[in-house]
């Protein structure tokens, strides 16, 4: 399988009032064409920032301070804003959590889909509305012709997420980044939305980066898992192998904290401690050491980051 996205030693920092937040540090991973990769980690671990950096939509306070993001052979850190803009929505697109808020509240959903189609220029203006209706039908929206004239507030959360998916897939991208696409939806709707994404992805040979807290979801839908903690990739590998035999203590804890059938919620081990303060964290050192029960003296040394690739690897001095 050929490589589609390669993130190499990516570092991102935010300028804030409280100081510089080093949100990502030497993050590396890759995604092959048609592959589904999960990016997991607790809240604040930098999953969204990674995705935004890849899409080139970091907010103005944030800056890529090092590393490369290579998409389909193009180095996005070198590319002009124009070039990246042309890729976004056409070659790589993204869906977000809270789909209702992610749609323009005062624009008809058909128009919002048409905006994307027209932006990427593969359609005549007169044909855009009909194409939007076709896309809505494709994501399983009943009565798409009428719904295309609806506003987001007239649709349920699940319907809005389908519209989001229709927008993201409008130009048949080769990479879809789904940032917690199921948060805020009820359980059945979650499954329906995920199945929809998987089926469409298979149909089109589209690669998917699924960002989630939920290891169960990751194990069900993904080929590989990349685990993040405090702006570092701590472990990555094929899903079955990684879940069966985690090598990084953080992954092990994350697994222990995931509800599974047969285990009562009370037995779940909470992950002790909190994410370290990213404004003060020393550069290039394990950021989990403060919370780790396998810590050794040599853990203070600089950490060899995981190279991008499909192998099972953990960034740890004392792996399981």
């Amino acid at each position: 399988m050929s490589e589609l996205l390669r993130v190499e030693n990516l570092s991102v920092a935010f300028r804030t009032r409280g100081g510089i937040v080093r949100a990502l540090e030497t993050v590396s991973f890759s995604i092959a064409r048609g592959e589904t990769v999960a990016l997991v980690g607790e809240s604040g671990s930098g999953k969204s920032v990674t995705a935004y950096a890849a899409m080139g939509i970091l907010d103005p306070a944030g800056q890529v301070t090092g590393g490369r993001i290579v998409f389909d052979g193009i180095d996005l850190t070198e590319a002009s804003e124009r070039e990246i803009e042309d890729l976004r929505g056409r070659e790589m697109s993204m869906i977000f959590q809270n789909p209702r808020a992610a749609l323009n509240p005062i624009r008809r959903i058909g128009t919002q889909i048409a905006d994307v189609l027209l932006r990427h220029g593969n359609i005549r203006r007169a044909d855009a509305p009909a194409e939007a209706v076709r896309l809505l039908a494709q994501v399983g929206i009943p009565d798409p012709a009428r719904r295309s004239r609806a506003y987001p507030f007239e649709l349920s959360g699940g319907m809005c997420q389908r519209v989001m998916i229709a927008i993201a897939l409008a130009c048949a991208p080769s990479l879809l980044i789904a940032d917690e696409p199921t948060t805020g939806l009820d359980v059945t709707t979650q499954a329906v939305a995920m199945d929809l994404v998987r089926d469409l992805a298979r149909e089109r040979q589209m690669a998917t980066l699924l960002i989630t807290h939920d290891l169960a979801l990751a194990s069900e839908y993904c080929d590989r898992v990349v685990v993040m903690h405090a702006g570092h990739v701590v472990e990555s590998g094929p899903v079955a192998e990684l879940l069966a035999a985690p090598r990084h203590p953080y992954t092990a804890r994350l697994l222990a904290a995931t509800p599974r059938p047969g285990i009562a919620l009370g037995d779940l081990a909470a992950i002790p401690g909190e994410l370290p303060d990213l404004r003060r964290a020393a550069a290039g050192v394990c950021r989990f050491a403060g919370r780790c029960d396998r810590r050794r003296d040599d853990c203070a040394g600089s950490l060899p980051p995981i190279p991008p690739g499909p192998l099972h690897d953990a960034a740890c001095w004392n792996p399981l």
Binding site: M55, R119, H120, A170
Partner: protein, 337 residues
């Protein structure tokens, strides 16, 4: 759309009733004898008694109110003592002057405030942002009449760029044939470029004065709501879809950001109509504001009452159009069938 208009019209009725009641109460709240007040300072006892009967002041209050409403419905706002002409006629002949000034002031203000607010919001901490902040803080502190006088001094006396601040048209010109009463429009309709330029020249300073006064709230609101909208989730979606910067700022952010700005327009109109009176005095503008000021000085009450009523009704109408505009921008108010 029609139901929306109907609903808004119905919602405006309490305001109109309130306005009519308040103007009635204001008339009867006159200290001492309203008849003597209406008769003016030079009337004798007989004249006052006649006025009392004529105004129905010898009847009960509810009866008087019914009469007052009846008069209003017939368009009878009483007579001006100083000119002897019906108040309605005078107000109607002067209203276009005020409207032209107010609307132009609003247009100038919007034309500056919206781009300024948008630029300030899209480029935080740039010089535009700082300029916006200075204007917003200074603008609300400038007394309108003072701004007007400073502009007159600079642009008329020092630079000589603008004509004397004495009314709508220089004495050398005759007013254009009356169609709308708005000189700019009428002179264009008559194809009279010279009069148009002359009328525009007279309008620039007073309209700019009004604009400076209303710039601040509009720019402040535009900036704040643009900032809020630009960090909204759906803007991120638009950017993630590769929509160009222009589309994102205008088709996505701007229209959403306009909602709170349109709401602020209500307050801006309140400011504008009030400031209009002061500006008319400074520029000897023959609108309804100067009419009211003349009447105030002559203690001529009917015109003042008519003026307050006209302004209030105008304000109700303006608020109504704001509501309609809001309804057009925001579909959430009227779910599609």
């Amino acid at each position: 759309m029609l139901t929306l208009i109907g609903r808004r019209l119905a919602a405006a009725i309490p305001s109109v009733i309130g306005v009519v009641v308040v103007t009635f109460v204001l008339t009867r709240a006159l200290p001492g004898d309203p008849a003597a007040y209406f008769a003016g300072p030079n009337a004798d006892a007989k004249a006052i008694a006649e006025i009392r009967t004529a105004l129905g002041l010898d009847r009960s209050l509810p009866e008087q109110f019914v009469r007052y409403v009846g008069d209003l419905l017939r368009g009878d706002l009483g007579q001006s003592l100083s000119t002897g002409r019906p108040v309605l006629v005078e107000l109607a002949s002067r209203l276009p002057a005020s409207l032209e000034l107010t609307l132009l002031g609003l247009v100038i203000s919007l034309a500056i405030a919206l781009p300024l607010g948008i630029l300030a919001a899209t480029r935080p901490n740039s010089w535009v942002d700082h300029l916006c902040r200075v204007i917003v803080t200074l603008g609300v502190s400038m007394p309108t009449f003072f701004t007007g006088l400073v502009l007159v001094y600079v642009f008329y006396f020092l630079l000589g760029w603008s004509p004397a601040p004495l009314g709508r048209l220089d004495a050398f010109f005759s007013s254009p044939p009356d169609r709308t009463g708005l000189y700019l429009v009428d002179s264009l309709l008559a194809g009279d470029a010279e009069t148009f330029v002359a009328a525009a020249g007279q309008l620039v300073l007073p309209a700019a004065t009004l604009a400076i006064f209303t710039l601040a709230p509009l720019a402040r609101m535009t900036r704040a709501s643009m900032l809020a909208v630009l960090s909204a989730d759906f803007i991120r979606t638009a950017r993630a879809s590769g929509l160009s910067g222009g589309t994102v700022v205008f088709a996505y952010a701007f229209r959403n950001a306009m909602l709170p700005v349109v709401t602020t327009l209500g307050m801006v109109f309140s400011f504008l109509l009030g400031a209009n009176v002061l500006v008319e005095k400074v520029f000897a503008w023959p609108g309804i504001g100067s009419y009211a000021i003349e009447a105030l000085i002559a203690a001529d009450y009917a015109p003042i009452q008519g003026f307050v009523l006209t302004m209030a009704l105008l304000y109700v109408v303006l608020n109504l159009s704001i509501d309609l505009l809001y309804g057009i921008i925001d579909p959430r108010l009227e779910p599609a069938a």
